[in-house]
């Protein structure tokens, strides 16, 4: 039989009461009581008689009718006896799964085993595949101590007062995720900041080169390339021919030096080096050969200088392209 819709709390309570009443009316209360007391073992070592089977005892025994713990004190029993006559509903346990009552295992056993289950779980986590309980327990004790210390002085395994291990397990991934998120945002910002400076310098460089080139192109008739080789044999006045390269070199020195100083000040090279494949290879190789780490500063410096060389090559490329596009003759 299957339930078409979930039962409400009241319905569940009612169903439990009816089942219990039916069981009690069916008799065999003594057997059930002895089963509970012997914890379901096949050897019936207990031989108590249930009050339900006792005809001269009107008051019901709470241990046979309610699901109290085996090791519990008399206080809950007395309370239950006093209230039982007036209000049966207060005896009812909290809402439970009906399937729990169909199985012979009683609640007290579950409660007893729950702490053992938690211990087993932690043991399995920390002891690994071999399942050794000795080292696992030591690790567990150490971990609990660590949590206790980290939880501002609470004793290890304190429970209610101190932080529970579950809190730390729940918090660590969240903190790591926030840290990762922050690092990602920082990396994105650094990249954008680096690009911003590159953009500014690119405008300055290209503007300077274009002005320099077109000034000489328009003022000096011989300042042009050609598809024919005769141009290499023509003699030129060297006083006018050197001005272009002088201005070009001066501009390059100033811009590259300024870019280098700004990059060192704002640590702009870090973005380039962090994303560089050489650094990634070095980091990967360091996990096998730690002595490779000593070359990291050298590689970082080389990558920084390579970026500066790239600036010069880009500017020279612009000059070549301008010569080429204007080489029609």
């Amino acid at each position: 039989m299957s339930e078409s819709k979930p039962l409400s709390a009241e319905e569940k309570k009612r169903l439990l009461r009816e089942r219990r009443a039916a069981k009690m009316a069916g008799g065999k209360a003594t057997n059930r009581l002895n089963t509970i007391l012997t914890q379901g073992s096949s050897v019936k070592s207990s031989s108590v008689t249930s009050v339900l089977d006792k005809e001269d005892s009107p008051s019901p025994s709470p241990s046979g009718t309610t699901g109290t713990t085996v090791g519990s004190d008399d206080l809950p029993t007395a309370t239950t006896t006093a209230l039982d006559i007036h209000n049966n509903h207060d005896d009812d346990p909290d809402i439970q799964d009906i399937s729990a009552f169909s199985s012979p295992s009683p609640d007290p056993e579950k409660l007893l085993n729950s702490t053992q289950d938690i211990d087993d779980m932690f043991t399995k986590i920390f002891s690994g595949a071999d399942g050794a309980t000795g080292p696992g327990e030591d690790q567990f004790a150490q971990m609990m101590k660590m949590f206790g210390q980290a939880g501002a002085g609470a004793s290890a395994g304190a429970g209610a007062d101190g932080p529970s291990p579950e809190d730390f397990f729940a918090g660590t991934p969240v903190q790591n995720e926030e840290e990762h998120q922050y690092q990602r945002e920082v990396a994105a910002y650094n990249l954008y900041y680096h690009k911003q400076w590159k953009f500014r310098f690119l405008i300055i460089r290209f503007s300077f080169i274009l002005i320099n080139f077109f000034y000489h192109f328009l003022t000096i008739p011989t300042f042009k390339a050609s598809s024919y080789s005769y141009i290499r044999d023509i003699s030129y006045d060297t006083t006018t021919t050197t001005s272009f390269i002088v201005w070009f070199t001066t501009g390059e020195l100033i811009t590259i030096a300024t870019y280098f100083l700004i990059s060192m000040k704002y640590d702009l090279f870090k973005t380039t080096t962090e994303n560089s494949i050489f650094i990634k290879i070095l980091s990967f190789g360091s996990s096998f050969l730690p002595q490779l780490q000593q070359y990291r500063p050298l590689v970082v410096r080389c990558l920084s200088y390579y970026e500066l060389l790239g600036i010069f090559l880009a500017d020279l490329s612009l000059v070549v392209v301008l010569f080429g596009l204007l080489s029609i003759s």
Binding site: F223, S227, Y228, R232, S317
Partner: protein, 208 residues
């Protein structure tokens, strides 16, 4: 026989420049975007010119199923059960047919995508490789002497040209550098600015 391939250096220079610019534009737009665009054009043109029955049939069936769904929503399943069931059957049948047509069209789409890829390869990659092989010893242009240092001219003459000569290798490298710089210049102003992140320090309350 192959004289027609012997291009004037300046022609070669300009063609190479255009191919490299096209390559950069295609890279910037994205191959997938281009494929989608060509597919949309093909669908539109194909529907109008009736190149394939599938398009017309697909659009007809899609509009039909939209009409049936609208009609279904207007009537109550409980009050007009027979009519609702009939409409539902029609919708289910059309859904199956549309799925079949979609499969057919997706096969068409994959062939269109392959054609686009082939076109891009033929337009950009193959000519460059051909030029690199066929014109590997052709000088594109000569620099005016004494304007650049001799060392620089020697470097620019790589790999095996006389000093002061620019070959295809250096030209392709230079054009790529300039184009990437120009693309960066043009695209960076439109990039979303990123503000400096602020680390939020969590304050953990210690319960006494």
């Amino acid at each position: 026989m192959l004289d027609w391939i012997d291009l004037h250096p300046y022609t070669l220079l300009i063609i190479t420049f255009i191919i490299l610019v096209s390559q950069e534009i295609i890279g910037f737009i994205g191959k997938n975007q281009l494929q989608e665009f060509v597919w949309l054009v093909y669908v539109k043109v194909g529907t109008q010119l009736s190149l394939s029955d599938s398009f017309k049939l697909y659009s007809t069936k899609v509009s039909e199923i939209q009409r049936l769904n609208k009609e279904k929503r207007l009537i109550s399943a409980q009050d007009e059960y027979a009519k609702w069931t009939k409409l539902n059957r029609q919708v289910d049948k059309l859904t199956g047919e549309i799925a079949q047509l979609k499969d057919e069209l997706s096969k068409n789409k994959s062939s269109i995508n392959s054609l686009v890829n082939l076109f891009i390869t033929l337009l950009t990659t193959v000519p460059l490789w051909f030029f690199r092989v066929w014109f590997r010893k052709s000088a594109l242009f000569y620099l005016p002497p004494h304007y650049l240092p001799h060392t620089l001219e020697w470097i620019l003459a790589i790999p095996f040209f006389p000093v002061g000569t620019i070959g295809l290798t250096v030209w392709i490298f230079a054009v790529k550098q300039v184009i990437s710089s120009l693309v960066f210049l043009l695209t960076f102003p439109f990039e979303q600015p990123t503000s400096k992140p602020v680390k939020v320090e969590k304050v953990v309350e210690v319960k006494n």
